[in-house]
């Protein structure tokens, strides 16, 4: 885009934002297709194999640990009598939470017309789906008798029994599986035009066939776009309350019980804020690396990362505020057990976990008040790692500190994870990165059609003089040469 045209066209587009262009580096429509699609077409880079082997090794570790668990039973974990929920639930909540940022970016920011989302929504949605897959592993293996996991579904069976719908754990089954299905559908619908784009560039016969089937014969017809855009809007509108509900339902697993430190009404909003916080940190971690390796810095710009850092700052502060509110309410309630639960968190045997959580979630994100720091790639990468760690510890603190000392001091105990616990968790990173690397290798990592659609050149009136229908002499012709 020429600078002469910038003022006018942006003024034209200024309905929803009045900022610098979202796509940098004078890219044409064709450049965008080229940059994004070519990565899936070129020879696999050597570094990818390196990263993939590492991820695959992690996945093998996960498979091995699960096999070991199935053979021996949950006794191989560090669970003990008061602490019946350990790593498995911590990891479940951690991974589901990470997924939330993807839906926030794809659905909520879409409804708010935040056009900058187009650069990052595809990879964030992929992250959502893979994180939810990792999350689903844990409740499944945690039931102990995995062969009976289908009892959680309302399937007719020879026992003439139905699931108990008053249990929050069953609500979870519905919430998380609905979340997974809807995220997958939303992601696929977004992918269709981009898969068609790749189909039309494909060289090999097999590649053409596979992409042809996957893109369903998409031709970019306006009669199709009309239904497509409506469906996309509706899915965004459905996914928005859904994402808020999922972590609320997850928090019910805790809040509906009567364990001190869990039985609080602040849990649903506090869990949702925490989920978005951790998810954005993970998006930043992944994209800082991916944009560099894949050379898409002009599409996923520092401006995008900065916006995400602002959301991290906001949600991190909300989460920190929730920590303090919890504390206040425990004191104000006058209930001895509640008060003890929180004092025990701060100064008890798990104080190290509590202060790790506090510093990573409340303290470190505050550096993002400084514009210089939140635009610094290295710095934001470090902070995002801290947030990932802090949010894992948040779930650890909630789960373990409340359980290990509840009402009767005679049943108090200390929970220590075993190597199997830790290695299973490490293994889920293998699963996550295996899927994410496959995505980066074979799928368009940026929503090409959506990015093109928000460029000033996509507006039909970009080419007008003030309303007389003639081409503006300064307008840039999109590249139509082959």
């Amino acid at each position: 885009m020429s600078t002469a045209s910038t003022d006018k066209t942006l003024a034209h587009l200024a309905d929803f934002h009045d900022e610098a262009p979202l796509v940098k580096g004078n890219l044409t429509f064709h450049d965008i297709t080229e940059i994004v699609s070519s990565h899936t077409e070129k020879k696999t880079p050597f570094a990818w194999y390196g990263a993939f082997s590492l991820a695959l090794a992690g996945l093998m570790l996960l498979v091995g640990m699960i096999a070991y668990l199935f053979w021996n039973g949950t006794g191989v974990w560090g669970l003990n009598n008061p602490v019946g929920w350990g790593y498995a639930i911590v990891n479940f909540v951690f991974w589901v939470g990470i997924g939330h940022a993807g839906t926030l970016i794809s659905a909520i920011l879409f409804l708010f017309r935040q056009q900058w989302r187009t650069a990052i929504n595809r990879s964030a949605e992929a992250m959502t789906i893979f994180a939810v897959i990792c999350a689903l592993v844990f409740p499944t293996i945690h039931v102990g008798r995995v062969w009976a996991i289908y009892w959680t579904l309302p399937l007719p069976n020879q026992m003439n029994m139905w699931p108990q719908f008053k249990s929050p754990l069953l609500w979870d089954v519905f919430a998380v599986s609905t979340y997974f299905t809807v995220s997958l559908v939303f992601w696929y619908i977004g992918l269709v035009p981009d898969l068609a784009s790749m189909r039309d560039r494909a060289k090999g016969k097999l590649r053409k066939l596979v992409l042809g089937v996957a893109s369903m014969g998409w031709t970019g017809a306006n009669r199709h776009w009309r239904n497509y855009e409506k469906a996309y809007l509706l899915l965004a509108a459905l996914a928005t309350p859904l994402v808020l509900s999922v972590h609320s339902v997850v928090s019910f697993d805790f809040a509906v019980s009567i364990v001190p430190g869990w039985h609080t009404t602040i849990f649903p909003p506090y869990f949702v804020a925490g989920a978005i916080f951790s998810g954005f940190a993970m998006v930043v971690t992944l994209l800082v690396i991916a944009r560099k390796i894949y050379g898409v810095e002009n599409i996923i710009t520092v401006d995008h990362l900065e916006k995400m850092n602002i959301i991290i700052l906001l949600t991190g502060t909300m989460v920190g505020f929730a920590y303090i509110t919890e504390f206040f309410i425990a004191w104000y309630s006058g209930v001895q057990y509640e008060q003890y639960a929180f004092v025990n968190r701060m100064f008890g045997p798990y104080a190290w976990a509590y202060w790790t959580m506090m510093s990573c979630n409340l303290f470190f994100p505050q550096f993002f008040w400084f514009k210089k720091l939140r635009r610094n790639i290295t710095f934001m990468f470090i902070i995002s790692i801290f947030v990932n760690i802090g949010m894992w510890f948040e779930r650890f603190v909630i789960t373990v500190t409340s359980l290990h000392r509840d009402y009767l001091p005679s049943s108090w105990d200390y929970y220590t994870p075993t190597a199997v616990d830790v290695l299973t968790f490490v293994g889920t990173f293998g699963l996550f990165f295996t899927l994410f690397l496959l995505f980066l290798r074979f799928m368009p990592m940026v929503a090409v059609a959506e990015v093109k659609g928000i460029m000033p050149e996509a507006d039909p009136h970009f080419y007008d003089h003030e309303g007389d229908g003639h081409h503006a002499e300064h307008a840039v012709e999109p590249s139509t040469q082959q």
Binding site: T181, D200, V213, R223, S245, A458, T480
Partner: protein, 202 residues
């Protein structure tokens, strides 16, 4: 009459019948979204109905230019949502209070409050699936065969090219006159698309 109805429904999905001469329609390329929008307007004003524009991204204002109303996907979503909500309510009531009533801490066998999470989830699930399925159905997708794919030039439609296609099935269609009109509207590269099962050689 049924045939006519089927033809109209297919035309709304951008699927048209080829004439006896195997001509499927005319495909004209335009330089940018602005030109395409004006061309679509002019084509509609000239009385054409069986035509469509093809672009790499949705173009703002094109529905109006082509004279298309609001999409009816929303009604399908609503249907899915109502189905999900009723299904969840019936399921929880029948399974919990009729077929397998079991006393848990003296709670009622069925009550609205604890049923809300699943009512909500199934509403969203079925509404979303209906939206996706409905969108593809209204678009006539998947459609693996499309005569437009015979055009080599058309492969750029998902990259950076903008096309207007007028189908031969339109009552106003006349190969020469329509081609002339398209050229007058500023089209470059007007080509005839044949539905004869062979890829163009040029």
């Amino acid at each position: 009459m049924l045939n006519q109805l089927a033809r109209d429904v297919k035309a709304s999905m951008s699927i048209y019948d080829a004439g006896d001469d195997k001509v499927y329609g005319l495909l004209a390329e335009f330089a940018h979204p602005g030109e395409l929008l004006h061309a679509a307007e002019a084509v509609r004003e000239a009385g054409f109905r069986h035509f469509d524009t093809h672009s790499p991204f949705p173009i703002h204002g094109m529905d109006k230019a082509m004279g298309l109303g609001n999409s009816i996907v929303g009604w399908i979503t609503l249907g899915g949502g109502i189905t999900g909500l009723s299904l969840a309510t019936l399921m929880q009531w029948w399974m919990g209070a009729v077929d397998y009533p079991i006393n848990i801490s003296g709670k009622p066998f069925f009550a609205v409050e604890p049923s809300i999470p699943i009512m909500f989830e199934l509403t969203v699930l079925l509404a979303s699936l209906a939206t996706a399925a409905g969108m593809f159905a209204l678009n006539g997708l998947p459609r693996p065969y499309n005569p437009l794919f015979y055009s080599k030039n058309f492969a750029r439609v998902t990259d950076d090219a903008f096309f207007l296609h007028i189908a031969a099935s339109d009552t106003k269609f006349d190969r020469d006159a329509t081609a002339q009109m398209l050229e007058k509207l500023g089209a470059s590269n007007v080509e005839t698309i044949h539905d004869h099962g062979v890829e163009d050689q040029d």
